[in-house]
């Protein structure tokens, strides 16, 4: 029995979308974004409402196929379809895109061409070594973004506002970490599926309301006894995992526990805090700050976001290291690695990741089609048998 | 042990003086391929597609690093007018050379697609090239002028002519060369790499002095032609070449395929200039047992690996038609194992 029924999350999200619609009617601007590199603090500081666009789904993918080629990744196709179909997407006034992979870089062009929605394209260096000129360039890009957002909302982005948003989102991150930490225990009460719902809902709600929700969840976790049975402990990885991939998590969690992940819609967003001004955030490594905490808020945001690990970065050692740490800390026994068809950054790395982690991997490469779910079921069950 | 490289990649490194993942392996499987494929030998050497299919089967079955086409050394002589018999299950036999003496020549040059069985080789090369030319080098044996001449003219008259009519011999060699070059051109056009085969120029047949005066220049002439195409030329002389091995690099050949000369001697005589191919005894591969073959091939390959220009583990001449397949497998197995290069792919810097 799920700790929190899915319908509860859906209700919360629906209500939030209604709220957003009301705020839009009063002139608020909604900024849709896809990626953990999108600096939501700046969006909020400019007075806009960040909404993470992370829907997939077969219907959306099919709807999107008339705009894109068949070998465009399913998430991109679904995104285009969702601009036609999904109520959240239809509220978007502008899109904040970050150049992560080829498809996500070019998706905004299609969005602009077909839906007339303006796009802020934020340049994030792909190379991960934080050389001063690279971080400085990203910092400069954030300046431009702040100015652009201010131009849209009519509200300039002050340092004071930024500090406030950094603190708020850091608090949210800390709460999500706390929730996530409950999955270190054997037979965790918080499933992978619920965590995905919780995180997606938190982004939509924004820090203040999300923190309340998570507080409530933590109380429920503390109050309920954990089951005695011990099941295989798994990590999730792979391409953008959306709310429409829940069927896979449900399938896996019939017989195993998903205890952590390296997803961009999961732990990587909240693993560390933006360093506070003068204070060190969490994220110290051996007593040393992993990300410097000096400088004004945009400086710190630049350094923080630059240092987020992702599979598309070069080299992507940080992502591998992150995965290895999670395997140790969460006592992971296997990896369920779900990639989207034609998703190069994640598909290319499956073998290498498996060799690095030294644990069994189930690699599922598929689109949002529902036709192959029985096949997936068989594969998942066979994989779990081996653990 | 799975190979890292394809035979073509391996050969490519050999001929540009680069180390390979292992020594290339080349038992000279010719008409034996027909036996392996279960077809009569006559069909093998009279139909290009059949010849190619047999070689493809042999290459696949044994894991040989080359596909090569050869039937007998009279091929060009036949195309010029010498007559051969075709036994059902044996190689062609010369029944009547074109001329009985050295007195007459004509101005004929072969048509590779029309004369004799030259077309068989062209068709075989074409077939094999399309089937497997991306991964395996396709070679075609071309009889050299000196050997061809001895199939055009009564052999006794020819050998006597080396002493009594040297200029006529040289005219005959030039006559043969013109057709051989034309045949080579057709092989080149089909995608094959010509191998020059000159067994009747070995020390078993002629003296070193006669080799230098007659055979060497005619081999060099053909090789010069092939070098216009930057081809890596194999010169195969089976038999005893102990007295001529040091001269053979002067032909310009890039690889020397040897028989009755020990590997160390061949390396000493020619290994600075030429890669050495050879030279397991063909009687041994026919009659020995697999274990003995493995041991002897291991010794041969160990010695051959010392060749500065490179080495190909091969038989000294054709694998006899009725050689037991397990013997050929033993040869290949041993050569691959001992010829393995553990340093290949380890980073080397300038």
């Amino acid at each position: 029995m799920e700790l929190i029924p899915r319908v509860t999350f859906e209700q919360i999200r629906w209500e939030r979308l209604e709220e957003i619609a009301a705020e839009r009617r009063k002139g608020a601007k909604v900024i849709g974004y896809f990626c953990i590199y999108a600096p939501v603090e700046i969006v909020e500081a400019a007075g806009a409402i960040p909404v993470r666009l992370m829907r997939g789904g077969q219907a959306a993918e099919e709807a999107g196929e008339r705009y894109l080629r068949a070998d465009a990744c399913s998430f991109c196709s679904a995104c285009m379809g969702n601009f036609d179909l999904d109520p959240a997407y239809k509220q978007v006034d502008a899109v904040l895109a970050v150049n992560t992979c080829d498809m996500m870089r070019r998706l905004p062009e299609s969005i602009e061409n077909h839906f007339g929605i303006p796009v802020f394209q934020l340049y994030m260096p792909r190379t991960s070594e934080p050389l001063p000129h690279r971080v400085a360039e990203f910092r400069r890009q954030l300046d431009i973004l702040a100015a652009d957002l201010a131009g849209l909302t009519g509200r300039s982005v002050s340092d004071e506002r930024l500090e406030s948003e950094i603190a708020a989102f850091n608090h949210l991150r800390a709460m999500l970490r706390q929730a996530n930490d409950t999955r270190r225990a054997n037979s965790p009460l918080l499933s992978g599926s619920t965590t995905l719902d919780l995180t997606a809902t938190a982004w939509l709600l924004g820090p203040v309301k999300a923190i309340s929700l998570i507080d409530e969840v933590l109380r429920m976790v503390a109050a309920r006894p954990r089951p005695e049975t011990q099941r295989p402990r798994l990590m999730l990885g792979g391409s953008m995992l959306t709310e429409d991939d829940r069927w896979l998590l449900d399938l896996v969690e019939e017989k195993a526990d998903i205890v952590t992940d390296i997803l961009c819609t999961g732990t990587r967003w909240f693993a560390e805090d933006v360093p506070g001004g003068g204070e060190s955030g969490n994220g110290e490594v051996g007593g040393q700050e992993r990300v410097r905490s000096d400088g004004n808020p945009l400086d710190r945001l630049a350094r923080f976001y630059f240092s987020r690990p992702c599979m598309h970065r070069r080299p992507n050692t940080d992502l591998h290291t992150y995965a290895e740490e999670l395997v140790r800390e969460f006592r992971v026994q296997g990896l369920v690695y779900k990639t989207l068809l034609y998703c190069d950054p994640w598909n290319f790395e499956a073998r290498r990741l498996q060799e690095a982690l030294g644990i069994p991997i189930l690699h599922l490469d598929t689109d949002y089609s529902t036709e192959n779910r029985e096949q997936m079921r068989t594969r998942v069950e066979a994989f779990l048998e081996t653990l | 042990m799975k190979d890292l490289l394809t035979p073509r990649e391996r050969f490519g490194l050999l001929v540009i003086d680069e180390p390979q993942d292992r020594v290339p392996v080349f038992p000279l499987v010719t008409a034996h391929a027909a036996r392996l494929a279960g077809i009569p030998v006559r069909e093998y050497y009279t139909a290009g597609a059949a010849m190619a299919r047999c070689q493809l089967v042999a290459q696949e079955t044994y894991g040989i690093d080359f596909i090569s086409f050869f039937s007998e050394v009279g091929l060009v002589a036949e195309a010029l007018g010498s007559q051969f018999d075709y036994p059902e299950d044996d190689l062609p036999l010369l029944t009547r050379p074109k001329w009985t003496d050295l007195t007459r020549l004509d101005d004929r040059v072969v048509g590779p697609l029309t004369d004799g069985r030259l077309r068989v080789y062209i068709d075989a090369v074409t077939y094999a090239y399309e089937a497997r030319g991306d991964t395996v080098p396709i070679l075609a044996y071309v009889p050299a002028p000196f050997t061809t001449a001895q199939q055009l003219v009564d052999q006794e008259a020819f050998l006597l002519g080396l002493l009594t009519e040297p200029e006529r011999v040289k005219e005959l060699l030039a006559y043969a060369t013109r057709s051989i070059v034309r045949f080579c051109r057709a092989i080149i056009g089909a995608g094959g790499l010509p191998i020059l085969v000159d067994p009747l120029a070995s020390g078993s047949v002629i003296s070193a002095e006669h080799y230098r005066e007659f055979a060497l220049p005619s081999e060099a002439e053909v090789i010069r032609y092939l070098h216009r195409y930057d081809l890596d030329v194999v010169l195969h002389i089976c038999g005893d070449t102990r007295t001529t091995i040091a001269m053979m690099p002067e032909t310009g050949a890039d690889l020397l395929s040897i028989d009755r000369v020990d590997v160390a001697g061949a390396i000493a005589g020619a290994g600075q200039a030429c890669r050495i191919i050879g030279n397991y005894d063909t009687s041994a591969i026919l009659l020995s047992d697999p274990k003995t073959i493995e041991r002897e091939v291991a010794e041969m390959t160990t010695a051959g690996k010392n060749c500065p220009k490179g080495f190909v583990a091969a038989t000294g001449c054709e694998v006899p038609v009725d050689t037991p397949p397990e013997n050929v497998r033993a040869f290949v197995r041993s050569a691959r194992q001992v010829g393995f290069n553990p340093d290949y792919g380890r980073r080397r810097r300038a």
């Binding site: 792909r126 | 890292l4 990649e9």
Partner: protein, 483 residues
């Protein structure tokens, strides 16, 4: 202010002793065997690479030579019948051996990956260094009609649903297509995902690897009056950024070679690269306006701007020879393709060169190209400090901006040369193709009202598939019907 193109490159149809070009034509593989019979030995002896006199450094050999060593696809192609073209083909086909000989003769071999044009200008400025792009190995499976390199990539976990550029990964694992490089300089960023994926996996074969960033060239911002493309300060910021990246390349090369490079040497490197780029600009003009050279040769020529096929000096001489031939043809009104051939612009180089032969045989000719290497065609401003000149030229790169920006280059060429259609070749599973082909096609159709044909190049084979032939034929019929 950009450096002006070298208008003094006129080229003359050199009389080469012992040879007279036949009347210009595209000839078959078999016809080249006949033509080669006429090439005197002295000419074969004349051309060497690396200024070396050894037999191995000769390269004037016909397509037959390379076909014997596995380049099976040459048998299906049609070639320019000039000596200059023969020389070009021999030189280019010889490159694997040349790279190994580079190492054998004491040169350092540096693999530059991803940026397609800028980094080799720096590398080649260092004495005794040869840069090459493993990226160009994406043609090898097609030239050999072979899956070998794709199978090697599959062994490393990269399957068929990715770009053909995975062949480079296969090649690294074999150590037989080029010597193990002394250094790998891998550029990534706003570039191609498939190739970035290859680069990441290549790291395991290349203990010494330097990553270089290619920045994103943005579009005009919605709320910012200063358009990113045209805006001077935005552009200058990215140029400064690139300079910092190139300074790292210089540092690493100095460490590798022990040579402290001077500004004079870098300037000379830029000047030499510009010489090549100017020659190619002139050749493009002669080919596209006067049909003095065909599309296949021109693709080879354009890609020479990347790394000069590992011998810049000799490649420059080859280009000069070609220019002499093409210039002479243009002056004498000789064409390799008919006057009434349908005029098309080709977007993204076809991995299968047979497509160019096919399209020309079907009655079209390519008079404009956008081969994802704009940056390599850009003439560098020699009045600027060298790294700045290189960085500035890189700002013209095809893939670092939007598809709309690429489409603009296509539209400009189509208008200038009165194109009748646009062909966009892609690769199923190629990351940027998946989005770009549609985007570019839509923009081109809208702006130019020209038919555009998009298709994916099929995996290596000995012929163009029947279905694709039909699509191309039908497309060309449409163009004809519009005349």
């Amino acid at each position: 202010m950009k450096a002006e193109r070298d208008r003094e490159i006129k080229g003359s149809r050199d009389q080469v002793p012992g040879w007279a070009d036949p009347k210009s034509a595209r000839v078959t593989f078999d016809q080249w065997l006949d033509l080669f019979d006429r090439v005197p030995d002295e000419l074969i002896e004349r051309y060497h690479y690396y200024g070396n006199g050894e037999a191995w450094s000769k390269y004037l050999f016909p397509p037959q030579t390379f076909s014997i060593y596995g380049a099976r696809h040459l048998r299906r192609l049609k070639f320019d019948n000039s000596l200059a073209a023969l020389r070009m083909w021999g030189f280019v086909q010889n490159e694997t051996e040349r790279l190994f000989r580079a190492r054998q003769t004491g040169r350092r071999v540096i693999a530059t990956m991803g940026d397609l044009g800028a980094v080799p200008v720096i590398v080649n400025s260092f004495p005794g260094c040869v840069a090459f792009y493993p990226d160009c190995i994406w043609w090898t499976p097609f030239v050999m009609e072979s899956r070998v390199l794709f199978d090697a990539a599959a062994e490393l976990g990269i399957g068929d649903a990715t770009c053909f550029s995975r062949a480079a990964l296969g090649a690294f694992s074999k150590h037989s297509y080029f010597p193990d490089p002394d250094l790998v300089i891998a550029s990534t960023g706003a570039s191609c995902d498939d190739y970035s994926g290859v680069e990441q996996l290549v790291e395991s074969f290349a203990p010494d690897m330097l990553w270089v960033e290619e920045p994103l060239r943005g579009e005009c911002r919605m709320s910012n009056d200063e358009c990113r493309m045209g805006g001077a300060s935005e552009r200058q910021a990215l140029i400064e950024f690139l300079k910092r990246e190139y300074e790292r390349v210089v540092e690493r090369m100095e460490k590798l070679t022990g040579h402290a490079i001077t500004e004079v040497e870098l300037r000379e490197g830029v000047r030499r690269a510009n010489r090549v780029r100017n020659l190619v600009a002139r050749l493009r003009d002669l080919a596209f306006r006067h049909a003095a050279l065909a599309a296949l040769e021109m693709m080879v020529v354009e890609f020479g701007n990347l790394h000069y096929y590992s011998d810049m000096g000799e490649w420059t001489a080859v280009l000069e020879h070609l220019l002499g031939t093409a210039g002479g043809r243009a002056r004498e009104g000789e064409r390799v393709l008919p006057e009434d051939a349908l005029r098309v612009v080709w977007v993204t180089p076809p991995a299968d060169p047979l497509l160019l032969t096919y399209v020309e045989d079907a009655g079209a000719r390519v008079m404009g190209t956008e081969y994802v290497i704009n940056q390599a065609l850009e003439i560098m401003d020699e009045s600027k400090p060298p790294l700045e000149a290189i960085a500035e030229s890189f700002m013209a790169a095809s893939l670092i901006g939007t598809s709309g920006q690429r489409a603009k280059s296509v539209i400009r060429q189509a208008r200038e040369r009165q194109a009748e259609g646009v062909i966009i070749s892609g690769i199923l599973g190629g990351s940027h193709c998946a989005m770009e082909t549609r985007l570019i096609s839509d923009i081109v159709k809208q702006e130019l009202d020209l038919p555009a044909l998009e298709f994916d190049v099929a995996p290596a084979s000995n012929e163009i598939g029947r279905q694709l032939q039909t699509r191309i034929d039908a497309f060309l019929e449409v163009l004809r019907s519009r005349r």
